[in-house]
């Protein structure tokens, strides 16, 4: 069917900030969709609150709105732009929910706006548990016994009927927030209570647990002409019971016979047809390992994380084609964009196996429950392609960047058999490594199968790996053994360990004997048709298909899996760097391993290598491509960390040299450099032992900021207040050694400032200066950043520009740099310099219209800032106020303390922009998902050091009519200042405790600062968690509280009595 001509303007709704369960995959999908619609000649309006995305680049859509995805704001945009239609199925659950809200509000009917693609009726049928079950019953398709419950009594009644275990699935939530598997009454109460809270319709599905079944997914597409295809099927290595986003997944299915496969394929197509999906859809099924019995688990009537994975796994661009289907095109009239010779109406054939492993944030959240269940906890994922399962899984393991290069624990000696069994029985992030260890200890695959329910097929493959370890160990430098080990995916690093040699020796031996990988094309058709796709993966085989072109090339290293501290911002910069390289006339080659991202869309670069980001894997590509050099400064710490080893092997690092990178990152060299250019920094030193740390800290004076060098997102960074604490920190939090020194700095309180700059070696361009709302001590990624600075004097701005310029030149930066300053007692200090792209690059680029990554890349390639048409120095301020507000995923991570500190905890960000700071903040906070009520109560518990400031805040809240509730200590202080306050009891008291207030929803805001001494620490923790669990904004920094207060003040009017004197006169 030809495309629709009756519509011109289409509104695309994005997915908002990155949170667990909704990550970069929707930037990929949204970007593809917008480009695809523009290709067809439509005018595209985009709304997304997340500035760190490619889709919000002004080139991607005709009009881009970075505004909150809430009913009032999107309605405003709709009224202004008057689109003919809305495409909601590419913005994840956020986009879908927004479309439903818009529809229910009546605005779509009022303005005659159509919903494109899958119709809302179908979305309701797929998402509403009751409607879905009815539909399945009509179709005669089995669903596990279940019941919709609205309260705990109904839940208990269901369990009495069905028995444990049961699964709790809250309705309409992202990544199953609030759900879980219950084995007993205590679990049931916990999950049902939280599930009901998170469900916007206060509904949970209780379901008979079919844990242990195989979990199989089908990515299906259908067009309005009723053509329906399966793009890809996938098998979860982890059996049913673990959220698919938290499961190790392979594509295609491995243990299903054709009969099983066709049976489930037929079911999936039947469902997509019954739902009348127009676009992409994901069907999750559970298959009994011992019969043909199956159940339908879930249907996602939209483009999803799985469809991004399926797109990258097969090369078939689901989102792009889904967008075209939405405007009326059918699958059999569109070409397959990969082969460009065959049609889109076909099912990709793979001639490789794909393995995906999720990336979890437990390295940052040590206290978090590491158990995996029906609620997703991963922040990102890696994918690898190989010709065997062993190869694919080991490539994925080393892509994770968790310090694992093989399926082994970091310190296996310390693990008891009991612990090992427990960690295999109850899935957690490290189960794969525990299984490796169990196999090494001689536990049978049958036993492990019994513990884990993982199919014997996969366990036998892991057993193959473990068994071959001995062969490798027994035969150092045996060519045949080495070749076979490489074919099984063993890392050079692992082999080097077995041979007791340096990694480079293995590499050199490989090269000497021509044991090097070849690169195979991902072509959707298993080689059946000729393709031109520049999308490759490495494997140890005979024929290489990646041919070096005549054109000089530049390799850009991507940033790997999304994790806290290294988010989509780095992919944004990577993509822009690739585009700049192309513009500059070079062939742009990218290496990355993250299937969610825009950078791994093969249409972005001239060549995409989907490979692990390790020295070995990068070097083989360098050997083949012989590039001009490698760009490392856009791929976050992932790429930076590879720079030294690459240069050691003779690779030219483009931009800031390795030596200069080191100067910025190595504490002592950095100090010397600062001294040379005369820029002050907080007093500090490095320690390599516990004793040394204590001496240094005592010398500097408490509080001190401690952190390991070379880390991302402030991992293991802490503020310590006394000798006891530093001792504890050194003994438990870090593993200090001469190779891994620990930095100890004077902790300065004051305003934190962040500056990004571009230097071409001579000229320094500063697109903008950002001021943080939260004072120094809160990680910059977790702070609200404001552009332009609101409180800085011209003198300080001048100093910042001067320091930044001197630092850029002094450190010989070529490309991007990011600097954190603190202004304490009227003095500007440098806290940190990152010789690379930063989290704020997309934010600043969007505000200032200065394409920072592009300019930096061209500077790296030799074009000066002036030649590029920019004036060095600080760019003039843009009109308006812009705030970057962090977004957290605490609701998904149980037992994580939400207190803001030097260690980063946010997963994403939103931008708020308007003409005043208050308005911008309002938008930012609302876009971040906070509910701002302009009346109600504030619950305060603050530490002694914060009491004075807290009184001021209480006073102002009281002024605009808020009731203040406080615990005893805080209340006393507030009372003393003459402000009315209600006292609540501490946790554990008999009366109404602070937890009751939160649970009952009697407080609209909670202000809780980290308490030391007086109150047990865990009380504060429980208060904060309780707020999260109840969806009440909990502010752990008084600065954030003050900002929030300003917003509310600007929204409300104060009411005051007339003053006596005035009455008298």
């Amino acid at each position: 069917m030809p495309k629709r001509k009756d519509i011109e303007t289409i509104l695309v709704i994005g997915s908002g900030p990155i949170v667990i369960g909704q990550a970069a995959e929707f930037d990929y999908a949204g970007t593809q969709a917008c480009i695809s619609l523009k290709e067809e000649g439509y005018r595209v309006i985009l709304v997304n609150s997340n500035p760190a995305t490619i889709m919000t680049d002004t080139e991607i859509a005709d009009k881009v709105y970075i505004e909150p995805i809430t009913l009032p704001f999107v309605s405003k945009i709709i009224r202004k732009e008057r689109p003919d239609a809305i495409l909601p199925t590419l913005g994840g659950q956020t986009g879908l929910n927004m479309a439903i809200e818009l529809d229910e509000s009546g605005i779509l009917d009022e303005l005659g706006i159509e919903i494109l693609g899958t119709k809302l009726e179908a979305i309701h049928k797929a998402e509403d548990r009751d409607l879905f079950r009815n539909l399945m019953n009509e179709l005669g398709e089995p669903v596990p016994e279940s019941d919709i419950i609205h309260n705990i009594i109904e839940a208990k009644a269901f369990v009495e009927r069905i028995g444990y275990p049961v699964i709790v699935r809250p309705a309409f939530t992202l990544g199953g927030t609030g759900g879980g598997i219950c084995h007993n009454d205590a679990d049931l109460v916990e999950f049902v209570t939280s599930g009901l809270k998170y469900s916007p319709v206060t509904q949970c599905l209780l379901e008979k647990s079919i844990a242990g079944y195989k979990e199989i997914e089908y990515e299906v597409m259908r067009d309005s002409a009723d053509n329906a295809i399966v793009v890809c099927n996938m098998e979860n290595v982890d059996a049913v019971g673990i959220h698919t986003g938290d499961s190790i997944v392979v594509a295609p299915t491995q243990t299903l016979s054709d009969r099983e496969n066709q049976m489930l394929r037929n079911v999936s197509l039947k469902i997509i047809r019954a739902l009348k999906i127009e676009g992409g859809c994901n069907v999750q099924l559970a298959l009994d390992p011992y019969s043909f019995n199956y159940y339908i688990i879930e249907v996602n009537p939209r483009v999803s994380r799985s469809s991004a994975l399926a797109s990258k796994a097969t090369g078939y661009p689901i989102a792009k084609l889904a967008a075209k289907i939405a405007v009326g095109l059918s699958l059999d009239e569109m070409m397959n964009p990969v082969t460009e010779k065959t049609y889109a109406c076909f099912e990709p054939a793979l001639d490789y196996i794909v393995a995906k492993i999720p990336r979890w944030p437990f390295d940052k959240f040590e206290s978090a429950k590491r158990n995996l269940g029906t609620q997703m906890k991963a922040t990102g994922e890696v994918m690898s392609l190989g010709r065997t399962f062993e190869e694919a899984i080991l490539k994925s393991v080393r892509s994770l960047e968790t310090g694992h290069f093989h399926i082994e624990m970091k310190n296996p000696e310390s693990i008891t058999d009991e612990w090992m069994e427990k960690r295999i029985r109850r899935a957690g992030d490290e189960r794969l490594f525990f299984i490796g260890e169990a196999l090494r200890r001689g536990v049978s695959v049958e036993q492990i199968h019994e513990w884990s329910q993982i199919d014997l097929f996969f366990l036998n493959k892991l057993q193959n790996i473990v068994q071959y370890e001995k062969e490798i160990q027994a035969k150092p430098f045996d060519q045949e053994v080495l070749y076979k080990a490489k074919r099984m995916g063993f890392a050079d690093k692992t082999i080097a360990k077995y041979w007791n040699v340096k990694e480079i020796e293995v590499y050199n031996f490989k090269k000497e004997h021509n044991i090097v990988p070849v690169y195979k094309m991902v072509d959707t058709c298993a080689g059946e048709f000729e393709s031109e796709t520049p999308y490759f993966y490495g494997t140890y085989e005979e024929e290489n298909e990646s041919i070096r072109t005549e054109k000089e090339s530049v390799i850009v290293l991507g940033s790997g899996p999304i994790r806290i501290g290294q988010g989509v911002e780095f992919d944004y910069a990577t993509v822009h760097s690739v585009w700049a390289i192309k513009e500059a006339g070079y062939e742009a080659i990218i290496i990355n391993n993250n299937p969610e991202t825009v950078s791994t869309d093969f249409s972005i670069s001239d060549k995409l290598y989907f490979e692990p980001l390790t020295v070995e894997d990068v070097m083989h590509i360098v050997d083949l491509e012989q590039p001009k050099g490698v760009v490392v400064q856009f791929g976050g710490q992932t790429a930076i960390n590879l720079a030294a080893a690459l240069e050691e092997r003779g690779v030219k690092i483009l931009g800031t040299t390795l030596e200069d990178i080191d100067r910025a990152e190595n504490r002592n060299e950095f100090e010397a450099a600062l001294h040379e250019i005369d820029i002050p920094q907080p007093l500090g030193k490095t320690a390599v032992s516990v004793e040394e740390a204590v001496i240094i800290a005592n010398e500097i004076g408490y509080p001190v900021l401690v952190r390991p060098s070379y880390v991302l997102g402030g991992r293991a960074m802490q503020i310590v207040y006394n000798e006891q604490e530093i001792q504890h920190y050194m003994e438990h939090a870090v593993d200090a050694s001469p190779e891994k020194p620990v930095l100890i700095d004077r902790y300065l309180t004051g305003t934190e400032i962040e500056v990004d700059a571009i230097c071409d070696g001579e000229n320094v361009l500063i697109p903008g200066i950002m001021e943080h709302i939260e004072r120094a001590g809160v990680h910059s990624g977790d702070s609200i950043a404001v552009y332009p600075p609101q409180k800085l004097s011209q003198q300080h701005i001048d100093t910042l520009v001067d320091y930044t310029t001197r630092l850029a030149k002094g450190l010989k930066i070529v490309g991007l740099m990011n600097i954190q300053y603190v202004i304490s007692k009227d003095e500007v200090y440098v806290i940190e310099v990152n010789p690379r792209s930063s989290r704020t690059v997309p934010f600043l680029s969007k505000i200032t219209s200065i394409p920072m990554a592009n300019i930096a890349t061209k500077a790296i390639l030799g074009q000066s800032i002036i030649e590029q048409g920019y004036t060095p120095g600080l760019a003039p301020n843009r009109q308006g106020v812009y705030v970057k507000v962090p977004v957290f995923s605490f609701a998904k991570l149980r037992r994580v303390d939400i207190t803001l500190g030097p260690e980063m905890k946010s997963t994403g960000e939103v931008m708020g922009k308007d003409i005043t700071l208050e308005k911008a903040l309002y938008k930012g906070l609302v876009a971040a998902g906070m509910e701002i009520k302009d009346y109600g109560s504030v619950l305060m518990t603050v530490s002694d050091k914060d009491k004075e400031e807290a009184i001021e805040i209480a006073k102002r809240f009281n002024h605009i009519g808020f009731r203040i509730i406080a615990t005893e200590g805080t209340a006393k202080a507030i009372q003393k200042a003459g402000i009315p306050v209600d006292i609540v009891d501490k946790i554990g008291s008999k009366g109404t405790t602070i937890l009751d207030v939160i649970q009952k929803g009697d407080a609209q805001f909670v202000i809780n600062t980290l308490t030391k001494g007086m109150q047990p620490e865990r009380d504060g923790f429980r208060i904060r968690r309780e707020s999260v669990e109840n969806g009440i904004p909990c502010l752990t920094s008084l600065d954030t509280a003050e900002a929030m207060l300003r917003v509310i003040e600007s929204m409300t009017f104060s009411t005051e009595t007339m003053k006596h004197e005035e009455v008298r006169s």
Partner: protein, 372 residues
């Protein structure tokens, strides 16, 4: 295979001089055949037992084969007719509740050689670029004079009696209570029989060289022409038979059966460069406009231009290369498809074509009754 040590080596030699060295599995004997590839990712058990692959060395482009083992239920024929199997990795420890054997054990028992561990994508690309090639699997564990072997290979002629090799020699019944169907076995997949059985047909399976007279003498409600191996022009006796029954009885043809109906109606066939083999081939139904994913396995095709001057019309085309995928007779209840509506292995989108056959037989008997 992980415990590769116990495995013997063997070569796969191609007539263009390419040599692949890999591990032997299945039979230790050598073999000869046309080297082809299939892109289906599941269904190896069905593929290796598909009589249409008679005399061919079948390459699986999906690299891991044998994962779910071999079960007693999923065969498409009792005896294997193919000459060899080529895979990147053979599963040593399959896993599936129905699995009884490993693929290696099964092929060994059936005396079919296989080669494992070679770059099957390279092989696929060679076939794609050069067209199907003659190939030879050497005896396990034996070094050979490669140049000599390749010369011999070039001189070897692909046999033309493949249908005869795989068809039955005597008729047998597969009783039911419904429509009486004579199913002509040119190398029939069990899937066809299964679909007719499911529709309660009363079936008599007859050899490929059964005469029209014999067939009509069984008073069938319909005749089903099965799939089969090789070049349709190699069995002129069958083409004659089809010519004679067109107009006498409703006919449904699949794959080779489709080619025979076309040739009997005056169309011509040609050899495709490397065939259509896999489970992801889109076919457009020209009447409904809908595209279905089909299972295909054929090296020959009907020339579209040659249909113009016949009583046939094209009903289905391959979406990708536009080749003929289905025809129907303009006057008589006769239709056929080039692909495999029975699936096994592969998609089952087109199973309704069997329903159509039943409907056609019903309609025809009604017509006959009204005439009577």
């Amino acid at each position: 295979m992980a415990g590769g040590e116990r495995m013997k080596m063997r070569y796969l030699l191609l007539e263009d001089g390419t040599v692949f060295k890999g591990n032997a599995f299945g039979s230790e004997e050598g073999s000869f055949g046309e080297v082809i590839f299939t892109t289906a990712m599941t269904g190896y058990q069905e593929s290796i037992s598909d009589p249409s692959n008679c005399g061919q060395i079948l390459t699986f482009t999906y690299p891991m084969v044998g994962n779910y083992g071999v079960n007693p239920e999923d065969f498409e024929s009792i005896d294997l007719a193919l000459s060899g199997v080529v895979v990147r990795e053979l599963a040593e420890q399959p896993s599936n509740f129905r699995s009884q054997n490993t693929l290696h054990e099964f092929l060994e028992a059936k005396n079919i050689p296989g080669i494992e561990g070679i770059d099957t994508r390279k092989l696929t690309r060679i076939i794609r670029n050069h067209g199907s090639l003659k190939g030879k699997l050497t005896k396990a564990g034996e070094e050979v004079n490669i140049a000599e072997e390749i010369e011999k290979l070039k001189a070897t002629v692909i046999p033309t009696n493949v249908v005869q090799q795989v068809s039955i020699t005597r008729p047998y019944p597969s009783p039911g209570r419904g429509k009486r169907v004579v199913l002509v076995d040119f190398g029939m997949k069990h899937g066809i029989l299964r679909e007719l059985n499911k529709r309660d047909c009363d079936i008599t399976v007859v050899p490929y060289n059964t005469s029209a007279k014999e067939i009509l003498g069984m008073f069938p409600d319909g005749v089903m022409l099965s799939n089969g191996p090789g070049d349709p022009t190699d069995i002129p006796e069958a083409i004659e038979m089809v010519k004679e029954i067109i107009g006498q009885v409703p006919i449904f043809g699949v794959c080779l059966g489709h080619q025979l109906i076309s040739l009997a109606s005056g169309a011509t066939s040609f050899k495709l460069k490397f065939g259509h083999r896999g489970g992801n081939h889109p076919v457009k139904d020209l009447k409904t406009g809908r595209t279905e994913l089909t299972s295909q396995n054929h090296g020959y095709s009907i020339d579209a231009d040659s249909i113009e001057n016949t009583d046939l019309e094209i009903t289905h085309i391959a979406l990708n290369d536009g080749t003929v995928e289905g025809v129907k007779h303009k006057k008589f209840p006769v239709y056929s498809v080039q692909f495999h509506p029975e699936g096994s292995s592969g998609p089952e989108d087109s199973k309704h074509l069997f329903d159509q056959f039943i409907e056609l037989m019903n309609a025809n008997s009604k017509k006959e009754n009204s005439h009577a």
